[in-house]
Amino acid sequence: MSVGFIMLVHTALDRAAQVARHWATSGCPVVIHADRTVEDDAFSDFCASLADLDNVRFSQARRRCEWGTWGIVGATIDAAELMLDAFPKVGHVYLASGSCLPLRPVPELAAYLAERPRTDFIESVTIEDVAWSKGGFDHERFSLRFPFSFKRHRLLFDRFVDLQRRLGLTRRLPDGMVPHLGSQWWCLTRRTLTAILKDDRRAEYDRFFKRVWIPDESYFQSLVRLHAKRIESRSLTLSKFDHQGKPHTFYDDHLQLLRRSDCFVARKIWPRADKLYSSFLSNDPKVTKNAEPNPGKIDRLFASAADIRVRGRSGLYMQSRFPLNDRDNGRSTGPYSVFEGFSDLFEGFETWLNKATGCRVHGHLYGPDRAEFAGREPVYNGCLSDSAKLRDYNPCGFLTNLVWSTRGERQCFMFGPQDNQYPTDFMVGDPNAQISVITGAWAIGLYRTNITSEVIRKEAARLQRIEQAHVAILRAHWAKARIRIWTLAEFIESPMDNTQEILNEISLGPTRRLTEAPRLTDLSGFGQFLQQLKNEGMNLHMAGDFPTGTGATPMNMVQKRPYLVK
C-alpha cells in the first residue's frame, strides 16, 4: 500500500510540476487538477513536462476553483475518484495544493501512514463547541444560502445574507449529518474516502453543500464523521493563517524553522523560494528523523506576531490609537514618578532620590527654559533634545518618547506651576504615572529671594492660580494615576513618613527604611513671609495653615495618613 497525492493547482505551475515529479519519482501516484483559469497553452506545457511519468494523471474536466465555492470540492471529488480507480494500490490519499512542499522524505510519510492503516488525518471540529474560523460566518455557513460570488459580486453577497437574516430564513441540514469545520488539507484512507464517495445519499449531501459557504472546509470534515473508524483531528499539512484569515507564506529564511517543525508537508511556499525547494525536494535519508510532527514552535512565533499586530506595543504611538480616544493600549511603556514641590522643600532632593531609589531623576522636564534632563544633558537617550520649543511642540509625545527610550529604568522628574502645564491631563489619565504633590511648596523659592515686593506678590498669585487649576485636574473623577496631595503645612508634620510611603510604591523589592533622610531646607521666617503676603492682600492658601512662628520645623514621627486620591 502506498500514499497517493491529489494536487489542486492554479498558479506557479513550474513549482507544482517540480513537486509532482518529486512525489511521482518517489513512487507515489499523483492526480492533478488544474484550475480552469490556467491558460490552455500553459496547461498543455505543464502536462507535457510531466508526460514521462506514468503515475501522474490529470483531471480531464477542469473546474473553476473560486475561493469559498463548491468548485474546489468538486475538483477534489473528481480527482479522488480518478485516484481510487486508476491506482488500486493506494492506501491513503493526501490532498495538497500547488504551493505545498514536502518537508520530510516521502518514504517517511509512507512509513508513518503504513503504521496507521485505518487512521484518517483530517481536522474536524464541531461548530457547536469551538469557534474555529477566523472572523466571518460560523454556523451561518450552513444555515444560509450563498449563491453569489464573494469576490466578484460582494454587494449582492452581502445584501442576500442580510435579507436571509432579516426574513429568518434557514436551511434544513441533511438528517444525521453534524456540521464540522477544519483545515482543507487532509489525508484519508481508501476505505473512508470510498465510503464517502459511494454513499447512497451523496447526491443529497452534494446538493446541500453546493450552497454552503466555503464547503472545502466542511464537506469532507462533516461527512468523514459518518464513515470513519478512527479520526485523528489534525492536518498533516502545516498551514498557518494570520488574523485576517489569509494563509501565511513561507520564504527562504524559514528554512530552519520548517526543518524543526517535523511536519510532513507545508503550505504556502513562496514560488521564488529557491532555497526551500532545493533543500526539501530530496529523499536524503540523512535528514530522516522519524519524529512526530511538532508545529508548536511555529505556532508560538506566529501567535506572538499576530498579538503585536492586533494589540500593538504599549507606549508606542500609532496614529489610529492616539491616547485621546481611549482605544489605546497604554499611554506609556512603563511606570514613572512626578514630584511636585519636593525639590523646593528638600535640599539636593534629586541627588538624594537617585541614591535612595536608583531611579533616573530628572529636574523640571517641563521647565520654561529647557528640559532639565538628569545631569543636565543637552541630548538624552534616543537623542531627545532638551530644547523647550521642540518639547512644547508636542509635550505628551515628549514624555512617551522619553519613557519608551528608557524602557526598563524608572524615570522620576520634578514638576511645578512654573512649568508647561499641558501634559497634566495626559499624566493624570495614565495608570503608569505616580504623582506626589506638596501644594504651595513653590513659595519657598519666592521666599528665598528675600524680597517682598509687588512683583513677588503678583508672581505668587499667578503660580497659585496655576497650581489650583492643576490640583483640580488631579482630583478629577477620571484620574487613573496614583496621586497623593498634601499641603505644605500637612507635609512637614511628618515629612519622612510621607516620603517613605511614596518610595515604598516605587521600589519593587523588600521595602527598607530610609537610612539617610533628605535635608529639609531652612524654613525659619517662612511663616512670617506668608503672613507678610497676607498682609499685602495675597492669601497663599495652597500652602495650608502654616504656623507663623519662627524656628525650625518640628520633625514629627507620628504616622499620619496623607490625603490619597486614588
Partner: protein, 353 residues
C-alpha cells in the same frame, strides 16, 4: 488599505455633506494634478527608452536625479538586489555624467529635461506622467537617489515577495519612515571612495523623538523628528522635514502623488501608514543626505532656491550645514539592521513573519 484594520480616521464634526464636498474637492485636485503631469510630458526628451522590455507583474522604480553620479552605483545595486526589474529615471540637467552612467545601464529607461524642478512640483509632474504611462497595475517604487528602502526581512525576501504578500491582503500602498543617517565628526569631511557603501560611511541615527499627527482634510500623515529636527529646526519645529513616505504603491493611472511621496491621492491610500509604532508591516527609507558632498550641495541648493515651500526660510538651514556641524552625540545609535529598527519601534514586521 482595505480590510478590517483600514478604519477611517474620525472625521469628527464634519457632516455627511461636508465629507462629500471634501471628497469632490480632492477628486478635482487629483484631476488637476494628472492634467499638469500629462502636459509636462512635452518637457521630457527620451534618451534611452527600454520600456518595451517591461513585463507584467514587475516592480518598477521611478526617480528624478540631478548630479547623483556618486550615489548611483550603490543605488542601482541596492534596488536591483531588492528585485526592481526596471528603472525609469528623469535626469534634470546633470553636469557630472549622471546621464551617461544611466544610459549605459541595460535596465534603465532615461529621459532628460532642462525644465524647472520646482515648476514641475519637484519632479513629481514628470514622474506622475511616467507612472501614468508605464506604471498602471504594477507596483511602483518612487524614491530619491539618496533614499534606500529597507523593510523587514529585506535581505532574504525581495520586493516581489513583499508586494505579493501585500496584494494578497488587498493592501495598495506601503509606508516607510525616513531614517536620517549621519557620520561622526563634522559634516563634509573625509573621502568618499567610489563603490563605498553609504551605510558604512553614515552609520548613525536618532532612535527616538519622532512625533506624528494625521492631517485633515487630506488624511495625510505628518511625522517629524530625527536629527535635522533636533539640530537645525529646534527653534522652528514646524519647518522641520516631513519623514513619512509612501514609496511603494500598487499604481493606477488615476493616482497622483500630492506632496513628494509624503501624501497621495486618492486620500484613502494615505491611511496605509501610521508612522512609527504602526502595527502593520512597514519599512524605512535610509536617507543618505549627509554624505561628504552635502556641504557643497547645500551651497548650491541655497543658490538655486528650488527648495520646497518658501526657499528664503531655509537659508539659515543651509548656512548651518555649510558650517559643518557635528550631528553625532553619545546617544546616537549605530545602525545594525532592520531587526534593530523593529525593536526600537521605528518599523514593524506586522504579521509578515
Amino acid at each position: 488599505m482595505t480590510g478590517p484594520s483600514g478604519a477611517r480616521p474620525d472625521l469628527g464634526s464634519v457632516g455627511l455633506s461636508g465629507r462629500a464636498v471634501s471628497a469632490t474637492r480632492f477628486r478635482w485636485k487629483r484631476r488637476r494634478l494628472l492634467w499638469r503631469s500629462l502636459r509636462s510630458r512635452h518637457d521630457l526628451t527620451p534618451i534611452n527608452d527600454r520600456t518595451a522590455t517591461i513585463a507584467r507583474d514587475q516592480v518598477l522604480c521611478f526617480a528624478t536625479m540631478r548630479n547623483e553620479g556618486q550615489r548611483l552605483p550603490h543605488f542601482l545595486t541596492h534596488y536591483r538586489a531588492l528585485g526592481v526589474s526596471h528603472f525609469l529615471i528623469v535626469d534634470n540637467a546633470s553636469t557630472d555624467g549622471t546621464a551617461g552612467l544611466l544610459a549605459a545601464q541595460p535596465d534603465v529607461s532615461l529621459w532628460s529635461t532642462d525644465a524647472s524642478y520646482k515648476g514641475a512640483r519637484f519632479g513629481l509632474d514628470w514622474l506622475t506622467w511616467l507612472q501614468m504611462r508605464y506604471g498602471h497595475a504594477r507596483w511602483c517604487l518612487t524614491v530619491d537617489a539618496d533614499e534606500l528602502l529597507i523593510y523587514p526581512h529585506w535581505k532574504s525576501r525581495d520586493l516581489r515577495a513583499l508586494t505579493g504578500w501585500l496584494q494578497a491582503r488587498g493592501v495598495e500602498a506601503f509606508g516607510a519612515l525616513m531614517i536620517e543617517l549621519y557620520p561622526q565628526g563634522p559634516l563634509g569631511s573625509g573621502p568618499w571612495p567610489p563603490e563605498a557603501d553609504p551605510l558604512s560611511m553614515l552609520p548613525w541615527f536618532d532612535a527616538n523623538g519622532y512625533r506624528a499627527v494625521r492631517q485633515m482634510p487630506a488624511w495625510n500623515l505628518w511625522v517629524q523628528g530625527g536629527v535635522r529636527d533636533r539640530v537645525f529646526f529646534a527653534d522652528t519645529p514646524r519647518q522641520a522635514p516631513t519623514l513619512n513616505k509612501l514609496p511603494l504603491v500598487r499604481w493606477n493611472r488615476r493616482y497622483a502623488y500630492m506632496n513628494s511621496t509624503h501624501s497621495v491621492l486618492p486620500r484613502r491610500l494615505n491611511l496605509a501608514y501610521d508612522g512609527p509604532g504602526d502595527k502593520r508591516c512597514c519599512g524605512a527609507l535610509l536617507h543618505t543626505k549627509f554624505l561628504p558632498t552635502v556641504v557643497e550641495k547645500s551651497a548650491e541648493e541655497k543658490h538655486r532656491r528650488q527648495h520646497f515651500g518658501a526657499p528664503e526660510r531655509f537659508d539659515a538651514y543651509y548656512d548651518r550645514i555649510i558650517e559643518r556641524p557635528d550631528l553625532w552625540n553619545e546617544h546616537s545609535r549605530l545602525f545594525r539592521g532592520w531587526e534593530q529598527l523593529v525593536s526600537l519601534g521605528l518599523m514593524s514586521a506586522g504579521e509578515w513573519h
